[in-house]
């Protein structure tokens, strides 16, 4: 069955470039979301940035979601924007709950630096290849990752 997301030019281009990188595509309220395979993320990100007619050079936002207690527990979310095409795109990567690791996007978009530190700080997701992977908002000796769903809002007392 062909959906709205399937006929989007971004999806077509991505299918042409890397046929097995795409796990799923969805459109909600006119926003396109692509789930990318963990190991293809770096390749897809570079393709999205450099491909003519896409040029998603601006990383608007990078964050994560915690689906506790479901597996795969985590998702990292990348909001890309193309100033030339005036277009937005959301990439997502699913990560396991046990030792979540994903490639750092700092070499692709330097803007990812602080965002990845924030996600590391609050979710405990490790970004491999990040130049300075330390906590950014919380004190360095803080225990736990507050934005995880199993972390109480009041904190541990």
């Amino acid at each position: 069955m062909s959906t709205e997301a399937d006929i989007s030019p971004v999806v077509e281009k991505l299918r042409e470039f890397a046929p097995d990188a795409l796990e799923e595509a969805q459109t909600f309220r006119g926003e396109l979301t692509l789930w990318i395979k963990l190991e293809s993320l770096r390749r897809v990100a570079e393709f999205m940035r450099d491909e003519k007619g896409l040029s998603f050079k601006f990383l608007s936002d990078l964050t994560a979601l915690d689906h506790y207690p479901n597996e795969p527990r985590f998702e990292t979310v990348y909001h890309l924007y193309s100033i030339d095409q005036n277009q937005r795109l959301r990439l997502k990567v699913r990560l396991p709950g046990d030792d979540p690791r994903v490639n750092s996007m700092v070499p692709v978009w330097p803007a990812a630096n602080a965002y990845e530190r924030e996600v590391f700080d609050l979710f405990g997701i490790h970004f491999e290849g990040h130049p300075f992977m330390v906590r950014i908002l919380l004190p360095e000796d803080w225990e736990g990752y507050p934005l995880r769903k199993d972390y109480p809002t009041e904190g541990y007392r």
């Binding site: 909600f28 309220r29 926003e31 979301t33 050079k57 601006f58 990383l59 608007s60 936002d61 964050t63 979601l65 915690d66 979310v77 909001h79 100033i83 005036n86 937005r88 959301r90 978009w109 330097p110 803007a111 630096n113 602080a114 965002y115 924030e118 609050l122 330390v134 906590r135 950014i136 908002l137 919380l138 004190p139 360095e140 507050p146 934005l147 972390y151 809002t153």
Partner: protein, 398 residues
């Protein structure tokens, strides 16, 4: 142990200086670690988090309507922009139509917010560089705007006036006249600020060619707003992806190609003038009608109707005790805040509380460009650069 810079072997004569968090020129509680060779900054890193309050965790605990009060407190210089960004995101999730009058009043309010925020920026930025008197002029006009906010929201800063589905209340009688009075006066006041600074030789020498960032670097580091446009990239969310009927207004997006502190200064001055134009058009074309969407299960009923209608009373009870249930899904909505692209990423699992609400704070991204701007420059230029990217620590640390 707070963040610090490791000494480089063979460069022991260099000084590692910790600047802030209690420093008058860091606009709050920003801490910089600078490695100095004489007076030249060799390396710089920043340390943030001193104002971290866990807003994003609190968002998940409160209902959508309650969350609005938290958004005020993030970017405390532009509370109404934050209200608008949050409400637009929830409205997108709900697929809710907002009445035209509410949209226009929202535009008036957010443009006043832009002027107000730029005034605080201008005053403090000028003080940082040594021009004391500009501050007093700026705060004189800011006071007028805060009184305008007080009239609609009952508070000067934490207004929470923009609500999901429209506005909290109809603006009071005499409010538009008050705004008009301000509009008549304000362009002359901008002349005054410019008279003090724009051609001032000291100001020009302290800002021209300082804190340069190229267009490519600015885009790569995620810089947005006046700081991006100062490097020659003409991108404004209001024009590129219009929200709240911004497509109905005629205004320019000031852009300059120099990429230095002076360019960013000129852009913000020009933006204040453009905001006046937008508000003028919004007042002249203000449509008649309601200021709340027709969605009784989401928008709070009028007080009067609660006394006569049982449905209104039930809806009120439901909204206050339980909240409303948006469809399952996720949206990203961004607006042009005074500092740049303010985005709200909202994920709903169908419950009355957001599953996740992440804020793309413009200052958080803009700050990443700071080390690039100051490395290789004199330490005296550091404060000029911090001022020129207009950081608000409340939204950086969240």
């Amino acid at each position: 142990m707070p963040v610090t810079l490791e000494r480089v072997a063979g460069q022991e004569e260099r000084v590692v200086l910790s600047m802030g968090p209690q420093h008058p020129s860091t606009h709050g509680v920003l801490r910089l670690v600078l490695e100095l060779d004489g007076e030249t900054v060799v390396r710089a890193i920043y340390d943030i988090g001193y104002l971290h309050t866990g807003f994003e965790k609190s968002f998940e605990r409160l209902t959508y309507s309650q969350d609005i009060t938290l958004t005020d407190r993030m970017d405390y210089l532009a509370p109404l922009s934050n209200n608008l960004g949050f409400c637009l995101a929830v409205e997108k999730l709900l697929d809710l139509e907002i009445p035209p009058k509410a949209q226009f009043v929202r535009v008036i309010l957010t443009e006043l917010t832009r002027i107000q925020s730029h005034l605080v920026w201008l005053g403090t930025h000028a003080i940082d560089i040594g021009a004391m008197s500009v501050f007093l002029y700026c705060f004189r006009e800011r006071e007028d705007i805060l009184r305008i906010f007080e009239m609609v929201g009952g508070q000067r800063m934490m207004t929470s006036y923009i609500r999901i589905g429209g506005l909290a209340l109809e603006p009071p009688l005499g409010w538009l006249e008050r705004v008009e009075k301000f509009l008549k006066k304000f362009p002359g006041r901008v002349e005054e600020y410019e008279g003090l600074l724009t051609k001032n030789p000291i100001w020009m020498r302290r800002t021209q060619g300082v804190g340069f960032i190229s267009a490519e670097d600015a885009v790569a580091y995620g810089v947005s707003g006046p700081s991006l446009r100062g490097s020659g990239v003409k991108w404004d969310v209001r024009k590129a992806q219009p929200y709240s009927s911004y497509d109905k207004f005629n205004f320019e997006v000031p852009t300059r190609s120099e990429g230095d502190v002076y360019a960013r200064y000129l852009i913000r001055i020009a933006e204040m003038r453009e905001s006046v134009k937008v508000i003028r058009q919004a007042i002249d074309g203000l449509p008649e009608g309601a200021v709340k969407a027709n969605a009784p299960h989401i928008v709070m009923p009028e007080r009067d109707s609660m006394k006569t209608s049982i449905e209104a009373l039930i809806y009120h009870f439901k909204i206050v005790t339980e909240g409303f249930h948006p469809p399952i899904g996720e949206v990203y909505q961004s607006i042009e805040s005074p500092r740049g692209e303010l985005g709200f990423y909202m994920v709903s699992d169908g419950s009355p509380r957001p599953f996740r609400c992440h804020v793309r704070a413009p200052s958080f991204a803009n700050l990443q460009a700071l080390p690039k701007m100051i490395e290789g420059r004199l330490i005296a230029d550091v404060v000029a650069c911090i001022g020129s990217i207009d950081v608000v620590l409340g939204e950086i640390d969240r």
